[in-house]
Symmetry: C2
Subunit: 405 residues, 2 copies
């Protein structure tokens, strides 16, 4: 098809006057409906301990909430802190605490020693990058690869720069690539020598239960690995039920070594009296146990997998074998990462926008919003209906082709 | 009554083997029951705008939640940010933000310029002081008086020390004294010259709707006053429904100038996608409007006022006219401040504890837990039942007398 034909096709699509938003990883209404029973819970306000959950207390979460959610991070309930409605907020608070006060009683605040740097696997999650940028943390991009992240580069960097205090990791069904870190990558992250003694891994397991395949990925337990190699306090793990039940009204959690948990709780006790226990009770009443969560995720999978399949069908049929870009079918998560030819991402996103389809901004998957190759686009197929998604993918594929003309 | 008789009386009480906790300002079960309808709300998940509150979005709160709660701070809804479940957390986050990033685009982080100091009216709220201590903020105590706080001292301090970046205020039904700031005090706080350009008032209106009298106190609107005298950005105001509905499952809010609100929201957008909208909707459905809140507080008043009266009856009958201490009946709030003779507070609290009655620790109402006179004790009468409260007050009064022997 030549350029004139493509332009004609694009104009025809544009005439449909679409208004579709594929920019964020939001659940669709029919997925949210699967959790509607939460709206009528809890039917009682007493915790298993007999505690009246309507009143103050319980800094780090109800024991039943810890037991319910700890398997999301593959850790023991004793290493879990239950938070409010947002794992992003727990990450922010964790970094802010480290910046001002340090990561333990022995160290000083990261911000006391001059520049603070973080390693950022790219493409990655824009909110992680925005958080660093807002706090003045210098971001060092390191390429994601099929095993997780290029560990040769990471090891070299952290071994030689005391200013590198942390690294973002979305280790399972990564945002946006969908890759899961291999055992080797996890082990190398656990044991690598870091110039900064107060270096920390920010282990964001946002999608640990978001399976899209009947042969899900397995992620090695990083907390155990860190402990075994003598770096027991290296990792902070995070998760939430935001994309499991109701985003904004879910329950977030983090996990770490007991030493870290104790330190964090000490400072948290000054920040809050505790998170919303009735919402913890609500989620416990809804799921009852981790099997309840995995069964629920199966139901979500049955809604999401067809949407992901539409995207792959379009990409294969319209763009396959033409050197227009690369993509992979992840076994879980919320996104598809499309890597087009150099210099085409911004133009593609712009063409889509002009035709009424909002995508995640080109560059958003890179620190400071700058994709050096201008090639990566994050596709978020979860929110639109099937019909909308087909319309959007038609726009996307024509836009990619046009951007390559 | 001589010491031997008092000791005999104390031993008799001790033999009752009491286990009563009056240490914290917690609502009692019958007060919580007044909000039980919340447990079956919301019945719908759609906001007035049509937004699906089960999904992501709305950083600063639903418009209907702002409209509902803004009168708690006597401000327009456009100056309100709705938070999570904890106003303490909003205060902590506000101070941490100022420490790291500054209070506006023009200023640097408070922590960048060396020592940071806060003025702390005493006796005051222990959690405010713990927050400062945890963040390394140096606390300067200034005496509370019948008009609020000794403004001559405050004005002198802030005029001459650029390190003084903030001041804690519980301006209505103060914790623990129950005093409400006079118009003159509010005006002087609004217009006083501060050596630090980035000075801020932390205006904690925790008890603005917690009326205990049919002739409630009136608090001048500090935001208006600040604006009128050319210090529009001086004050951060805070409140929550923690002691209105369910502590831990309530809704917190803050208010400030539009400039401050915009700045805070910019940074908050990196920290969270938004607070729990279903809980906002739940509270809106429960109260419907501010009249709903005041009517609810009337019902709470009818439960609390008799408890406060028991305390006053005991204090008058057992301790009145004997130079054993001073107290005042507040027109609202959650506490009674008892100021005994110098050097008696710790001993009194210890005697109570040994007789099975836990009070707030002596010294807790002062920075670093150090009451220089060892005289102030905070009484929290809200949680015990009437019978328990009578038993506790019997212990307290005997303990005060013994501590004075």
């Amino acid at each position: 098809m030549d350029k004139a034909q493509l332009e004609q096709q694009y104009e025809q699509i544009k005439a449909k006057n679409l208004h579709l938003d594929m920019s964020r990883g939001k659940p669709s209404g029919d997925v949210l409906d699967l959790s509607n029973a939460l709206l009528n819970l809890p039917t009682a306000y007493t915790a298993q301990s007999g505690l009246d959950c309507r009143n103050y207390g319980v800094l780090d979460g109800l024991p039943e909430a810890k037991t319910l959610l700890a398997p999301m991070l593959d850790v023991g309930a004793d290493k879990v802190i239950i938070g409010g409605n947002s794992s992003l907020q727990m990450m922010y608070d964790t970094i802010v605490r480290a910046m001002l006060l340090g990561v333990d009683e022995e160290s000083e605040g990261w911000s006391k020693g001059g520049a603070v740097k973080f390693i950022c696997p790219v493409p990655g999650y824009d909110r992680h990058f925005a958080l660093c940028e807002s706090l003045g943390i210098v971001m060092i991009p390191v390429p994601v690869n099929e095993h997780g992240v290029d560990m040769d580069v990471v090891e070299e960097l952290v071994a030689n720069d005391t200013a590198i205090k942390g690294m973002w990791c979305v280790p399972i069904y990564s945002n946006p690539t969908g890759v899961t870190y291999s055992d080797d990558v996890v082990r190398r992250l656990a044991r690598m020598k870091t110039a900064a003694k107060d270096f920390r891994l920010m282990w964001d397991c946002a999608y640990s239960v978001h399976v899209l395949s009947d042969t899900p990925d397995r992620l090695l337990n990083v907390l155990d690995e860190c402990e075994q190699v003598g770096n027991p306090d290296r990792v902070y793990m995070f998760a939430s039920t935001s994309k499991v039940t109701f985003p904004g009204s879910g329950v977030a959690l983090m996990a770490s070594s007991r030493k870290n948990v104790d330190y964090i709780c000490k400072h948290m006790s000054v920040q809050t009296i505790g998170s919303d226990k009735l919402n913890q009770l609500r989620h416990f009443a809804f799921f009852k146990n981790f099997s309840g969560i995995t069964a629920h995720m199966k139901a979500i999978q049955s809604k999401l997998a067809p949407k992901f399949n539409i995207v792959f069908e379009f990409l294969e049929r319209e763009l396959g074998g033409q050197n227009l870009g690369e993509w992979h079918a992840p076994k879980g998560g919320y996104f598809i990462s499309f890597t087009g030819n150099h210099g085409t991402a911004k133009r593609t996103v712009r063409l889509c926008k002009d035709a009424g389809v909002i995508l995640t901004a080109a560059g958003a998957t890179f620190p400071y919003g700058k994709d050096p190759d201008d090639s990566n686009i994050r596709l978020a197929p979860t929110f639109p209906t099937m019909n909308e998604l087909e319309a959007a993918m038609e726009v996307f594929c024509v836009s990619v082709k046009l951007a390559n003309c």
